[in-house]
C-alpha cells in the first residue's frame, strides 16, 4: 500500500517499524512532527523533554538499557544536546540509538543555517541522509542496525524541504517489523569500562572510536544507499539528501553518485566514480562538506565555486548556477516574465488576533525599555508597530543577556521576556544566575499555557504529557521563588493597566523581579470557545489610530473618514476578532465596545 507521507511522518513510521521503544524530543521546526507522529503508534513510549540535551540523555539511557531509541531535534537543538552526543559517541550503546537532526537551509524558522554534518565528523559518528520520504522511512531501520553493528549513535540528517515535503511511501502491512534482532537482556548493564567516561576509561576509548570511523568508511564502500547512476560520462555529480532530486531534475543525462551516508565517505567508490567521468562536481546545500571530504582524498572537484553556500536550493538555483559555470547551455534557461507590478504589501508573520503577548509589548513599547527577547511566537513583538524586542539569539539567551547588560552598569533597566516553554528549556539556569548574582533585571515570563510557535505542544506547565497522560502541572510562581527571586507577581496577560502598573513598580524597585503574564494562547481549543468579536461605535471613533498601534490584524481602516480629522475610522473584522479587549482598553474615546457591552447590545 502506498501513502503520501511527509519526511517527518516517514521517520516516525520507520522508527516504529524498526522497533524503537523510546523517543524523546523538544519541539522545533522543522522536526516537531517526528515524535508527535511516533507517539500515536501502539506499544511505544514518547515524550516531550524540557530541552534537547535532556532528550538525548533519555534516548541514550534507553539505548543503554537495551531498547532501541530515538531523539529528534532541529539543527540548533543539537547545539544544546552536543555534550550528550559527544559522550554517547565515546560510550556506544547496547541497543540502537538514532539522533535525528533537522537542518533548516534558508532559515525558514531559525536563527542560523548551520550544517550539522559537521557534528557527525566532530563527534565521530556516522551520518545518514535520505533523499525522499521512502528513504527517510527506510534509513531509520538502517541507522539502528548500523548503531548496533558499530556500537555508536547514528545521525539521521534531514532538511526542512525533506521534513515538510510529502512523497509516496510503501508501507509494510502489519507495521512493526518482526525482523529478528539480537535479544537484549532485561538488566541495566554494569560495565564501567564502557559506560563510565572517567579519564582513564576515556583515554582507552578514544582510539576505539577513531578505529570505528575507519571501519565505517570501509563499510560505506558497499553500503546500498551509496549508489552510482551511470549515464553520460562527461559530467559526474556527487550529491546527497534533497539535492539529489534537483540534480536528477536539472541534469537528467549526467552520471550521479548519490551518498546516503555522508560521513564517513567511501574513498574507493568516490575515486572510481571520479575516474569514470570527465568533470566532477559536488551538489550539496550549505557547507562544502562532501567537497572538502573529497578534496582530502586528493581528488579534485568543484562545488561551492558553482553553487551557492547560503540558502536553500531549488531547480532554478541549480540550473542558473550550472548555466553560469558552463555546465548547461544558455538554452536550458527557463525564462522568467518581467512583470510590471504594483507595490505588493509585505505580509510578515504577526501576533495573532487575541494573542496574550500583545498587551505586554504595547506596555514595553510605551515605556521605551530595552528588551532582551527569546525564541517563540513572542519574538514577533519585534515588528512594528509594537517594536519591543531588541535581541533574539537562541533558546534561553534573553535572561542571561539582560543580566550581563545590567551588570555592565547601564543606566537603563533591562527587561527580559521569555515564554513558559522556553523558560523550562534553558531559562531556569539563567534566572537562577540573576537571583544568585543579584542584578535588577525584570524577567517577564509569558505564560500562554502551551508551546505556541511549533503548534501547541504540551510542556511541564500544561498538566499533560505528549501521550496525553495527566501529570501535575509545574507551577511557575513557586519555581521562580525556589530559584531565589522574591519579587514575583502574576498578572492577567490581557490587562493593559495591571501590566503597566506592575512594570512601573518593578522599574523603580531594587533587585531582581519576575512578572508572570498569564493568558491562554487564543488558538487553544478552550480559548476558541470564548471568542466573541468586538464592535466599533463609529460615531465615537475619530480615527486617532491608537488601536492601529497595537498591531492587531483584526483591526482595519474603515472606508469612513472622521469629519474633523479626515482620518479613517477603525473597524473590526468579525471573522478575526477574538474579543481579547486590548484595543478597547487603549481606545481613549470608549469607541470599541467591551465584551459585556457587545453582549448587552446583542441581547
Amino acid at each position: 500500500m502506498k501513502r503520501l507521507l511527509s519526511g517527518n511522518e516517514a521517520v516516525a513510521r520507520g522508527a516504529w517499524e524498526a522497533g524503537v521503544k523510546v523517543a524523546s524530543a523538544y519541539p522545533g521546526t522543522p522536526s516537531t512532527e517526528i515524535v508527535e507522529e511516533f507517539a500515536r503508534f501502539p506499544n511505544v513510549y514518547a515524550e516531550w523533554a524540557p530541552n534537547e540535551k535532556v532528550a538525548v540523555d533519555v534516548a541514550v539511557g534507553a539505548a543503554y538499557a537495551g531498547r532501541r531509541a530515538l531523539a529528534a531535534m532541529k539543527h540548533v537543538g543539537v547545539n544544546v544536546a552536543a555534550d550528550a552526543v559527544f559522550y554517547a559517541s565515546m560510550t556506544g550503546i547496547e541497543a540502537g540509538l538514532v539522533i535525528v537532526t533537522a537542518d533548516d537551509p534558508e532559515m525558514h524558522s531559525s536563527q542560523n543555517e548551520q550544517d550539522n554534518r559537521r557534528y557527525a565528523r566532530f563527534a565521530r559518528i556516522p551520518c545518514l541522509e535520505p533523499s525522499d520520504s521512502q528513504e527517510a522511512k527506510d534509513l531509520v531501520g538502517v541507522a539502528l542496525d548500523l548503531s548496533e553493528q558499530f556500537d555508536t549513535p547514528v545521525f539521521l540528517r534531514l532538511t526542512t524541504r525533506l521534513c515538510h515535503s510529502s512523497s509516496a511511501v510503501e508501507l509494510t502491512d502489519g507495521g512493526e517489523s518482526s525482523a529478528p534482532r539480537q535479544p537484549f537482556p532485561d538488566k541495566f548493564p554494569r560495565n564501567p569500562a564502557k559506560y563510565v567516561m572517567v579519564p582513564g576509561n576515556a583515554r582507552k576509548k578514544h582510539p576505539v572510536i577513531e578505529e570505528r570511523v575507519r571501519q565505517l568508511a570501509r563499510f560505506a564502500e558497499t553500503f546500498p544507499f551509496n549508489r552510482v547512476e551511470w549515464r553520460d560520462r562527461s559530467l559526474g555529480i556527487v550529491t546527497c539528501g534533497i539535492s539529489y532530486q534537483y540534480a536528477r531534475e536539472v541534469f537528467p543525462q549526467a552520471s550521479i553518485l548519490r551518498l546516503g551516508m555522508t560521513y564517513p565517505v567511501p574513498a574507493g567508490l568516490i575515486g572510481d566514480f571520479a575516474a569514470g567521468v570527465e568533470r566532477l562536481i559536488v551538489l550539496e546545500e550549505l557547507d562544502p562538506f562532501l567537497e572538502e571530504e573529497i578534496r582530502l582524498l586528493g581528488i579534485p572537484c568543484e562545488g561551492k565555486s558553482i553553487f551557492p553556500l547560503c540558502g536553500e536550493f531549488d531547480p532554478r538555483v541549480v540550473r542558473d548556477s550550472a548555466i553560469r559555470a558552463g555546465l548547461l547551455p544558455e538554452s536550458a534557461r527557463v525564462p522568467v516574465a518581467e512583470l510590471e507590478k504594483p507595490e505588493i504589501p509585505a505580509r510578515p508573520p504577526v501576533l495573532c488576533p487575541g494573542c496574550p503577548h500583545r498587551a505586554l509589548f504595547h506596555v514595553l513599547n510605551k515605556r521605551k525599555v530595552p528588551v532582551a527577547g527569546d525564541i517563540g511566537c513572542y519574538t514577533l513583538g519585534l515588528l512594528p508597530p509594537l517594536s519591543a524586542i531588541h535581541t533574539c539569539g537562541c533558546m534561553g539567551a534573553g535572561i542571561g543577556q539582560a543580566h550581563g547588560a545590567a551588570q555592565a552598569g547601564l543606566a537603563e533597566r533591562m527587561v527580559a521576556v521569555i515564554g513558559d516553554s522556553t523558560f523550562f528549556h534553558t531559562g531556569m539556569p539563567a534566572l537562577l544566575n540573576v537571583a544568585y548574582n543579584r542584578s535588577n533585571v525584570i524577567t517577564v515570563i509569558l505564560d500562554n499555557r502551551t508551546t505556541g510557535m511549533t503548534g501547541h505542544q504540551h510542556n511541564p506547565g500544561t498538566g499533560y504529557t505528549l501521550q496525553l497522560r495527566e501529570t501535575p502541572p509545574i507551577e511557575l510562581e513557586p519555581l521562580v521563588r525556589a530559584l531565589g527571586i522574591e519579587r514575583v507577581r502574576t498578572v492577567p496577560a490581557f490587562h493593559v493597566k495591571a501590566l503597566d502598573e506592575t512594570m512601573k513598580e518593578f522599574l523603580q524597585a531594587d533587585g531582581p523581579s519576575v512578572l508572570i503574564a498569564r493568558g491562554e494562547c487564543a488558538l487553544l481549543p478552550e480559548a476558541r470557545k470564548r471568542w466573541l468579536p468586538l464592535e466599533v461605535m463609529a460615531d465615537r471613533c475619530n480615527g486617532c489610530t491608537m488601536c492601529f498601534r497595537i498591531g492587531c490584524p483584526a483591526i482595519l481602516k474603515s472606508d469612513e473618514l472622521d469629519e474633523k480629522t479626515q482620518r479613517p475610522k477603525a473597524r473590526i473584522d468579525r471573522l478575526l476578532c477574538t474579543g481579547c479587549e486590548v484595543c478597547a482598553q487603549v481606545c481613549p474615546r470608549g469607541a470599541i465596545l467591551f465584551r459585556d457591552q457587545v453582549q448587552g447590545v446583542q441581547a
Binding site: R161, S166, I242, V336
Partner: protein
C-alpha cells in the same frame, strides 16, 4: 491525459492552504500520478504568506519544488498573494484566484498600498488570458462556513484537470471529518459551477 502538472497554491496563514494542498496531492495519487508536495510550517503560519508546491507526473517527480515560471496552475486564496506569486506561473498557464481580500498590517498600520482588482488583472494579462477570479469566499459564506473557500477553489481547479469529480469527492470524503463531508461536497460542486458560469459569461461578452 497530460503527463505532468505543476501547481502552486498560496494564501494567508489560516485560510486552509495546507489542507487544500493535501487534498490536491491525494487526488493526484488516487488518479495514478507520482506526487510530491512541499509546504512551510512554523513562523510563516502566524498570519503570514503561505505557499505550497504540488507536482503530479505520470512517471516520476524528482524535485518537490517548482521554480519561477514553472507552475502550470496557480490556485490563490487572496488577491495580494495572487500578485506576490504571479511570477511562478508559466506564460499561458491558468490562475484561479479568490476575489477575497485580507489587508495586511503593513497597510493598516504602515500605509502600504493594497492592490486593486484592476491591478491584478493587468499583471496576469501580461502572462496569460487564463485568469479566473472566483467568489470562493462569498460562496463559502453562503454555504454557512467561511473556512470552506479552499474547497470551493479546488472545485474550480478541478474543471481544468482530466480527473473525474468522483475521484475528487472520494479523496475529500476520506480526508475530512464525517460531519463536514456534505458541506465539502457542496463547496466543491459550487466551485465547479462558478468557473463554468464565468466561462460562459466570457464567451457571451
Amino acid at each position: 491525459m497530460n503527463k505532468s502538472y505543476n501547481f502552486l497554491l498560496a494564501g494567508v496563514g489560516g485560510q486552509g492552504t495546507i489542507l487544500a494542498s493535501n487534498l490536491l496531492a491525494g487526488v493526484g495519487l488516487a488518479a495514478g500520478f507520482d506526487v510530491k508536495k512541499s509546504e512551510v510550517h512554523g513562523m510563516a503560519q502566524r498570519g503570514g504568506s503561505v505557499n505550497t508546491h504540488i507536482r503530479w507526473d505520470a512517471e516520476r517527480v524528482y524535485s518537490p519544488l517548482i521554480g519561477l515560471g514553472e507552475a502550470d496552475m496557480l490556485l490563490v486564496f487572496e488577491r495580494a498573494e495572487a500578485l506576490r506569486y504571479a511570477a511562478f506561473l508559466r506564460p499561458g498557464g491558468t490562475a484561479i484566484v479568490d476575489e477575497q481580500t485580507i489587508v495586511p498590517i503593513t497597510v493598516t498600520a504602515g500605509g502600504a498600498h493594497y492592490p486593486t482588482a484592476e491591478e491584478l488583472a493587468a499583471v496576469y494579462g501580461q502572462l496569460t488570458d487564463r485568469l479566473y477570479v472566483v467568489p470562493g469566499s462569498a460562496i463559502a459564506r453562503e454555504l454557512g462556513n467561511a473556512r470552506i473557500a479552499n474547497v470551493v477553489l479546488l472545485g474550480a481547479l478541478s474543471t481544468f484537470l482530466e480527473v473525474s469529480p468522483e475521484i475528487w469527492l472520494q479523496v475529500i470524503q476520506a480526508r475530512v471529518p464525517p460531519r463536514f463531508v456534505e458541506l465539502n461536497r457542496q463547496a466543491f460542486l459550487r466551485g465547479r459551477r462558478a468557473v463554468a458560469a464565468g466561462q460562459s459569461a466570457d464567451q457571451a461578452g
